[in-house]
Symmetry: C2
Subunit: 130 residues, 2 copies
DNA sequence: CATTCTGTTATATATTATGTATAACAGACA
DNA sequence: TGTCTGTTATACATAATATATAACAGAATG
């Protein structure tokens, strides 16, 4: 797996795992329909508790990123749907307002900021399941 | 004051207050050198505890957003300095990678995203102290 | 000098979030 | 029958968040 967890980070472990899985899908490192490790396997790989992984998978399921079948386990949702819900957009709005304000005050120019966003977007490409 | 706190939010109160003060500076709603309410006053206005506000002011001081003088109280730092430290930039990098990945998967186009960033930046302008 | 306002510190308490530990359950599959 | 899945239950420890009450020390003002 491609996960790198910082155990001394202020960001909770489960949040780091969750973020990296979602990013993995966007980058195409995880294809749609691809199987993810079992809760026990991933927990063992990272060196964390089973329940922490289970929490991640559960949230990913609730948010539609993965589907879970008994026994077959967890896989990236083969039918990912765009979710521009009002709640999501409202949260994104607030988040970006705060981040850009701080970046502006810290001397990050609009051009720098946008260039960074563009480079990120250019690296994203959903990889279809085979 | 211009603060609007959502008490049912997952975002901690102190974090909301902190974000809104920083954003207030970027928007020019707070001028450099402007006095902020005392810890007790602001706590009373919002309807929260004195210590929660004190925590905010303390973090803002440590990060250089405000200066605090005994008795004269808290004011927006008249000599704000850009802080593009490696730590800050690394945190911003990780944060934006995660946000853009999720936005991409949720169907927010690069153009939409960038347009939003631009409009934010256009609204920022530090207001100098008089 | 006494009052009043500052931020600050100290204690204590309550609730929630995070993470771990151990165990067991039920479905699916070989 | 084992063995693998996710899932649930229970318990525990630690940290984060927020409140409550009280007191302290510096600075300004009457």
């Amino acid at each position: 797996m491609f996960l790198h967890i910082q155990f001394d980070s202020e960001t909770p472990i489960y949040q780091q795992v969750k973020n990296q899985i979602i990013r993995g899908i966007a980058l195409g490192e995880l294809s749609l329909g691809e199987s993810l490790p079992s809760v026990r396997q991933l927990a063992s790989d990272i060196g964390i508790n089973l329940h922490t992984v289970n929490k991640v998978y559960n949230q990913l399921k609730l948010e539609g990123w993965v589907v879970i079948h008994r026994k077959s386990g967890v896989m990236v949702n083969p039918d990912l749907k765009a979710n521009k819900s009002p709640d999501y957009l409202a949260g994104l709005d607030t988040l970006l307002k705060n981040i850009t304000a701080e970046a502006y005050l810290n001397g990050v120019s609009r051009e720098e900021f946008i260039d960074f966003i563009q480079k990120n977007y250019d690296s994203y490409k959903i990889r279809e399941e085979k």
